[in-house]
């Protein structure tokens, strides 16, 4: 019996060994190294020198650009993620029908998300918002003055947020799957009771979707925090204007690979990890209050 379980262990670990080895080499050891670097001054050329908490304290006390990148990222996340989810839910609801054209609509609505991560789309977005770009032409057509998207930090951030909302497709598909799982009898029964659209939405649709909202929220939160490509391309790697698009990942990248301050970048990465961890934990903790599972007693 004992030799059998030894054999089982051996076979099991053989199969998962690529993951175990990869995890040690590419995740655990680098993470430990990054934690160590975060307490050092390290420019790649000379050996890391221990400076204790200095990276962490200067981040919050003497680095205005760091605070700016934190502010911009928070704005980007707390504006972009809810807008994206609301829009995704809205579109999922209007596409939740049995019409034949719906397949085509779904394809079209999903298209931006498929190409969204590419450099081409960031370049396109940059040009749509140019001084003479389509967005300004349209604003002028309805009587609004041109906005200098690359001159005003808030306008530039708005540009990044709209790009993220435009790529709502994956959340939309998950919402769509969730909407299809809501039994139609629930709507029929409440229709007999005379419930209108809003009652049905707030009493049936929204509560039934809460597990899916939770899933989408967590996934989008994490990926929004790591957004890099659009900010890098739209600001040509600088994070401008006036650090208005200096997202956290972009500033971390600049600290590491433009200023070669590897210690500082590592400290930034750990603060990011803590922020993402705390936010995720907070969402999970509050989820008991608002996530409704079908089986009573929950899972």
């Amino acid at each position: 019996m004992k030799s059998l379980s030894l054999r089982n262990n051996l076979v099991g670990y053989t199969f998962i060994s690529p993951f175990v080895i990869g995890f040690l080499i590419f995740t655990l050891i680098p993470a430990a190294a990054s934690l160590y670097f975060s307490f050092t001054d390290y420019d790649l050329l000379s050996a890391p020198s221990w400076i204790g908490l200095e990276n962490y304290t200067s981040m919050f006390t003497s680095d205005d650009r760091y605070m700016q990148s934190l502010k911009v990222t928070m704005l980007y996340v707390f504006l972009g993620v809810p807008l994206r989810l609301i829009f995704a839910l809205f579109v999922a609801m209007i596409l939740n029908t049995t019409s034949k054209a719906v397949g085509l609509y779904r394809t079209v609505y999903y298209l931006p998300s498929i190409i969204g991560g590419s450099v081409a789309v960031s370049i396109m977005w940059r040009n749509l918002f140019g001084d003479q770009g389509v967005i300004n032409v349209m604003l002028n057509a309805i009587g609004i003055d041109s906005v200098r998207w690359f001159g005003d930090p808030n306008a530039a951030l708005f540009m990044l947020v709209t790009l993220s909302v435009w790529q709502f497709g994956s959340s939309m598909l998950i919402f769509l799957a969730g909407l299809k799982n809501i039994p139609t009898e629930l709507y029929e029964a409440s229709g007999v009771d005379g419930a209108g659209f809003f009652t049905k939405f707030f009493r049936i649709t929204l509560p039934m979707l809460t597990p899916i909202i939770l899933f989408n929220l967590i996934m989008q939160l994490i990926s929004a925090f790591m957004t890099f490509v659009p900010a890098y391309i739209i600001s040509k790697g600088e994070g401008g204007p006036l650090d208005g698009t200096l997202l956290y990942s972009l500033y971390l990248f600049r600290q590491a690979f433009v200023f070669f301050d590897m210690g500082y970048a590592s400290a930034m990465a750990w603060v990011m990890l803590i922020i993402v961890g705390v936010l995720t934990a907070a969402v999970f903790a509050t989820s008991k209050l608002w996530v409704h599972y079908e089986t009573e007693g929950g899972r």
Partner: protein, 278 residues
Amino acid sequence: MLLKKFKWPIYHIFVGLLAIVMVYPVIWLLMSSFKPSNVIFTTSSSLIPDPWIWTNYVTGWIGSSGQSFMSFITNSLEIVILSTIGAVLSSAFIAFGFARLQFRGRAIWFGIMMVTLMLPHDVVLVPQYIMFSKLGWIGTISPIVVPQYFGVPFFIFLMVQFIRTIPREMDEAATIDGVGKFGLFLRIILPLIIPALATASIFSFYWRWEDLMGPLLYLNKPSAYTVSLGLKMFLDSESVSNWGAMFAMSIVSLIPVLGVFFLFQRYIVEGISTSGLK
């Protein structure tokens, strides 16, 4: 249910109009790529190019500083194909272990895998860069490709979920016939999880094709640049004279992505609605 409020024609007009708004930027990019560079912005509100020209595609393809766009595409394809083979096969191998084998510590390792799924990559960015530079891998595609051969947590998770839907009686029948665990994986499970392998391959293709950070850090010679880096190079040298070429090559860079999308639409939509990442 929202629909009952709409009449059908109104519904189609509304949803159709919104669809146009959604794809308008892409159509604008496509149409602009056929306009002469000097009028792209003076005529940015009208979609139809006048005159309609093809030369942007020629100048863009020839590229600048001796690098043709063809070399960017070849480089990208090399990375994408090598990465995808590694990511999909290793993930399937690992997923079989998690889904079908009993061993001590399985739950712990599965938990660790789920945590790495959510771990921000920034945390390992700097040490990985140092490690790869110590190995002398800077300037090669190894830092981008090799890690893929150790399994990708998202794909492992996807495949574990998929394997769990396959009845265990299949395993038992094969075991009675004297098939070992490795044969079970290769001959029974692998053919049955082809849809999951396809979904993972498509995602792997997208992620590697679009990747900017990896090439930005590790590929330092223009001859090794990928499509993403090639486009970025256009942007760096941006002047009135090459907007058209930049737009044209942006369209070229999207063709493989759109091609895969239209060919494998069903898999993609199913893959996303069951797993939920992009």
